[in-house]
């Protein structure tokens, strides 16, 4: 547990030319050294950290690189976060500092992924559906509060919904889900992606 995180920190300290000490790692992660020692013991058993110093072994470095690739792959390409999450501060910070991605890398990643926005898994925004049409809720793009509220009200991935009515003048859309009706503002509805059922 927390192994990748700790190895990652050791790695970033060492490539930035700093001295890797237990105190430094503990300071960066905000975790007591006693806890670090337990994890490091495990890492040494697996041969990821050399037995006499705090340096990563070759397989330790390989572990980190694989971990980073997996992260970017899962989080951005197969994940349901959508490209918009790349623009969030927390994600940018995360990529820049934890994975040593440069601003340039981020920019090209964004432009590459933007081609796929909205097309993942043939999903289309809920606003495309007409009155009476049905669809499967795939994912939603939005802030934590909005996602929380949607799933609390029963709009969870895989659930079937039906458009009951659409207000005129860009007003809300009412959907029926799990036997009750929910009104969604047009802005919210445009960020909900569904697979249309025919």
């Amino acid at each position: 547990m927390l192994m990748p995180k700790i190895l990652e920190t050791i790695y970033s300290i060492s490539i930035s030319g700093g001295m890797v000490t237990l105190d430094e790692v503990s300071k960066r992660l905000g975790v007591p050294t006693s806890f670090l020692e337990d994890v490091l013991k495990l890492a040494r058993e697996k041969g990821l950290v050399s037995s006499d110093s705090l340096n990563l072994t070759d397989s330790g470095r390989e572990f980190i690189l694989r971990y980073r690739q997996a992260f970017i792959h899962d989080k951005l390409i197969h994940g349901r976060h959508g490209v918009s999450s790349l623009y969030s501060d927390s994600m940018s910070e995360h990529l820049k500092y934890d994975h040593n991605l440069s601003d340039e890398d981020l920019k090209s990643l964004r432009s590459f992924l933007s081609k796929f926005d909205g097309n993942i898994d043939e999903a289309e925004p809920l606003t495309n559906l007409r009155r009476g049409e049905r669809g499967i809720f795939i994912y939603a793009v939005g802030g934590h509060g909005m996602l929380r509220r949607l799933s609390d009200l029963g709009l969870t991935p895989g659930i079937e919904l039906e458009v009951v009515s659409i207000a005129s003048l860009g007003g809300p859309i009412v959907v029926k889900v799990r036997g009750y009706e929910i009104a969604l503002g047009r802005g919210v509805a445009s960020r909900i992606y569904v697979k249309r059922l025919r």
Binding site: L2, K75, R80, R148, A167, G171, E181, G185
Partner: protein, 663 residues
């Protein structure tokens, strides 16, 4: 010898989702004994009451209705903090039998809080009309807690509920709530995390169940995350959470809040519903509620109905209110006041007696004669709108318009009401969910010219400049509100929350419940607002009696005459208009010594003065309502900002009229 029986006290809390008939059960339990106020330091309504039953005194707290117990809204935080405080012996979870699936979503979370839960399965009649049969005994067996079937509107099940509560408290019925198990991967993470929490954060475990903390951390609950971050060794846990969340999101390919919610709905759909809920027949497809729903949301009919309803409300509140006001002012102003002043001026010296009579008693009576006539019908109508389910329909129709000013459909009612009186409009701001939106809306509401300001607008500009100019002022006002809403929406931190709102079925309102709710809300308002109105009125009367008005005019004259180009004495009607807005007109005529304003003011000055009054600091009753809804700091901020806006608007008008039109 007489024995004094000491009644055994039981504390219970009612928890449930919105529109499940929770308040009907509450009213049935406690009747007239309830007190309605706010949660301490919060702007959320708190209702509590008492029920004497045999040897027991049962205190009932009605928790805010919430769909979940995350930290999405203030209501959710209040509900869960109260349950965690362990002040209640029993938490009665009111459940809508006709929407069992979504209601059990909250039940699961109450179980996770390790609350002593009893389920009140309400609206059994509605479920039946939808063709749903529920095996109550089986539900109770699965959950491990008593389930009481109820039809609260007819009182069915209330007695059984009370008996069950007592049985549980006396230990005759044991609660053995089931611990819900999540899917394998999530469950693994939850148990590992709770082990770590027990080991590294023992200090938190005395207050919060570790398993609940683990679930909330995984869900990304901001409040819990903050608590853990601020604890010693909290960092270990938060890093661990991050790792687990990444892993779960990788496995499921979904965001974490969807994963946890899906799992909860999964538990309900897999382990509970198939065993307890049976669809006996197709629901009656075109019920009266469905018809009403269709008529009130179909645009061609919906908008005319909306306009009709709001015009009626407007008419009812303000003509009914005016009638009521006249009756009250006949009783108080014309009969009681002379009697009181007769007594007081006999004992006290003149200055002091004027302060007591006009300031203290005047303020007290003003609370009754000005606020009460409008607040009473407002609360009555609000309660009906809430209980029938029309509010969501109005919000649905108006959402697109409200978005232009960074709000959503629910803001429509308070904004409309503002044209009548800002006080009920301010009180109505509570329909918004987030802090941000409540604040934004209260800000806009106080800028709306109420009927008293209309008197000033028509009495000055309408009468002496021209009716068309008065209408233009309204137009300017609307433009300023839109611009201001737009700017505030940009400036305030956080994002505008889009509309995500349940459209509940229409229900017939219960008159008794509506009347009780109205009465207790009015009582609550008077208790909270009258001290403030009285204090404000005493201060202003003191200023007047001590002859400080010329002094104030002297200091404000650079502003009033310099910037606005008005006679310095107009500071007096502006300041005293805070008591009640129409005073601005009466006092203006008084200080200028003529009721024919044409003789004493030019057209430009009249326009500037009216614009300043239109945006100027709201009246004391409105400020009081604002304090009640928003708290002191925000109420003061809003009031001060309106002063700034009004002076700015007056100044701009002055410049434009002088330089562009050469007035």
């Amino acid at each position: 010898m007489k024995l004094i029986m000491v009644k055994r006290r039981i504390n219970i809390a009612l928890a449930g989702q919105p529109n499940v008939g929770k308040s009907v059960i509450f009213n049935n339990l406690v009747g007239g004994s309830q007190i309605v106020g706010n949660w301490p330091g919060k702007t959320v309504e708190k209702a509590e009451g008492k029920l004497i039953y045999g040897d027991y005194e049962i205190n009932v707290i009605d928790l805010p209705g919430t769909y979940s117990l995350s930290s999405y809204s203030e209501e959710e935080v209040i509900a869960r903090e109260y349950i965690l405080s362990r002040e209640s012996d029993i938490v009665v979870n009111v459940v809508d039998a006709s929407v069992l699936e979504r209601n059990l979503y909250l039940t699961i979370q109450l179980f996770e809080l390790e609350a002593p839960v009893i389920v009140a399965l309400n609206l059994m009649d509605v479920a039946q009309s939808k063709g749903i049969r529920i095996d109550v005994d089986e539900l109770s067996r699965i959950l491990g807690v008593p389930v009481v079937p109820m039809v609260a509107v007819t009182g069915r099940g209330i007695d059984v509920l009370v008996k069950t509560i007592i049985d549980v408290v006396e230990g005759r019925v044991k609660l053995s709530p089931i611990q819900f198990k999540y899917g394998k991967e999530v469950e693994e993470k939850i148990s590992t995390l709770s082990e770590y929490i027990k080991r590294y954060l023992p200090q938190l475990c005395s207050k919060y169940p570790p398993r609940w903390l683990a679930i909330k951390l995984l869900e990304g609950d901001e409040n819990v995350l903050k608590i853990v971050e601020n604890s010693e060794n909290g960092k270990i846990i938060t890093l661990l959470v991050q790792e687990f969340v990444d892993e779960l999101e990788r496995i499921h390919g979904e965001n974490i809040s969807s994963i946890i919610s899906s799992e909860r709905y999964g538990i309900i759909g897999r382990d509970i519903l198939p065993k307890v809920q049976f669809i006996e027949r197709e629901p009656i497809s075109w019920t009266f509620s469905d018809k009403l729903n269709y008529w009130t949301t179909y645009p061609m009919l919906g908008y005319p109905i909306l306009i009709l309803i709001f015009l009626t409300i407007f008419y009812a509140i303000f003509t009914g209110g005016r009638l009521f006001e006249e009756v009250l002012s006949y009783i108080f102003d014309e009969n009681l006041m002379p009697w009181i002043s007769g007594i007081i001026s006999g004992i006290l010296p003149e200055t002091l007696s004027n302060i007591v009579i006009n300031g203290f008693f005047g303020g007290l009576i003003a609370t009754l004669t000005i606020s009460l006539p409008y607040i009473l019908p407002f609360y009555f109508i609000l309660s009906i709108l809430e209980d029938t389910g029309y509010m969501p329909r109005a919000a649905y129709l108006m959402d697109a318009f409200m978005h232009r000013i960074g709000l959503h459909g629910k803001a429509f009612l308070p904004l409309m009401l503002g044209y009548g009186c800002n006080v009920p409009a301010c009180l109505g701001c509570r329909v918004m969910e987030s802090h941000r939106e409540k604040f934004l809306l209260s800000f806009l509401v106080v800028l709306i010219p109420c009927s008293a300001r209309t008197v000033v607008i028509l009495g000055i500009v309408g009468k002496f400049v021209g009716f068309i100019y008065a209408l233009m002022l309204y137009l300017i006002n609307i433009i300023v509100i839109i611009l201001f809403g737009y700017a505030l929406n940009r400036l305030l931190p956080g994002c505008p929350v889009g509309l995500i709102m349940e459209m509940p079925d229409y229900r017939r309102p219960i008159l008794k419940a509506v009347l009780l709710k109205t009465w207790h809300r009015v009582k609550g308002f008077i208790y909270e607002a009258s001290p403030l109105i009285v204090a404000g009125s005493v201060i202003l009367e003191t200023i007047y009696q001590l002859n400080m008005v010329p002094l104030i005019s002297h200091y404000t004259s650079p502003l009033i005459s310099g910037l606005l180009g008005l006679p310095a004495v107009t500071a007096f009607p502006l300041i005293f208009g805070v008591l009640r807005k129409e005073l601005a007109l009466i006092l203006l005529q008084e200080v200028l010594g003529s009721s024919d304003l044409n003789l004493v003011l030019n057209v430009k000055q009249m326009l500037v003065f009216t614009i300043v009054v239109m945006f100027f600091i709201p009246c004391i009753a409105t400020i009081a309502a604002c304090v009640k809804e928003e708290g002191w700091r925000r109420a003061i901020l809003i009031s001060l900002s309106t002063i700034l806006i009004s002076i700015l608007a007056g100044w701009v008008t002055n410049i434009v009229l002088t330089f562009l039109f050469g007035l």
